[in-house]
């Protein structure tokens, strides 16, 4: 699981291995462990990518799947 931008500041980390069978399962595990991070991930502006593809619904995860939470983007 990867966190970017302010989400990494909220969590205090940017990358961790977390066992989970689906995105919903992963969110449940975060809610139990760090409610503040869970709250931050629920913000509508935060988008989710699984294996570098954007997803909007729940999806199942395989061992080794890469889940990234992306807050509002700002480049240039």
């Amino acid at each position: 699981m990867l966190l970017f931008g302010r989400l990494a500041d909220v969590a205090g980390w940017r990358e961790r291995d977390i066992p989970a069978s689906s995105l919903a399962d992963l969110r449940g595990r975060i809610a139990a462990e760090d409610p503040t991070l869970f709250e931050a991930l629920q913000a509508p502006a935060v988008r989710t990518a699984v294996d570098q593809e954007m997803v909007t619904l729940d999806v199942s995860l395989q061992p080794g799947s890469e889940v990234a939470f992306l807050p509002p983007m700002s480049g240039g």
């Binding site: 990867l2 570098q52 983007m73 240039g76």
Partner: protein, 145 residues
């Protein structure tokens, strides 16, 4: 993408070289501003792999939409002190309108939709920058056309 400082002049010089059928090259260089001492450092974060692929998709869209002959995008990541270049975009086309519009379109995309996260550090601490309403308006121009 590059972590190292880059010279937009060298990039433009190289991009313009040996073009016999390009009438127009537009470029944009984004520089880190000091904000009268309020910003001492910018930090740009990307999602390696994903960011390049997303930029590549938009580059291809710009080429098709504006009939560009060539595009160059350089985007720096990591810590960037004031006065140094963050981003450089150059577009080549037969005529000037396509070159300008392609460059403008790509910059609006890079500013508010490309997978980068930007943190400003100043005397009062650090904050993450999010797209402004202006950025969203700029981007919306391309959707209504």
């Amino acid at each position: 993408m590059t972590q190292a400082p880059f010279d937009p002049g060298l990039a433009l010089g190289e991009f313009c070289r040996d073009r016999r059928e390009t009438g127009a090259v537009a470029s944009f260089t984004g520089l880190a501003r000091a904000e009268a001492g309020q910003t001492t450092l910018l930090e740009l974060e990307a999602y390696p792999g994903f960011t390049e692929r997303e930029i590549g998709r938009h580059e291809a869209a710009a080429v098709a939409r504006f009939g560009l002959q060539d595009v160059l995008i350089i985007h720096r990541t990591g810590p960037i002190p004031p006065g140094e270049a963050i981003v450089f975009v150059a577009t080549a086309a037969p005529h000037r309108r396509a070159a300008f519009e392609g460059c403008d379109f790509l910059m609006d995309y890079l500013k508010s939709r490309a997978p980068f996260w930007k943190k400003e550090t100043g005397p009062d601490g650090a904050r993450w920058i999010e797209p402004t309403d202006r950025d969203r308006d700029d981007l919306a121009r391309w959707e209504t056309q």
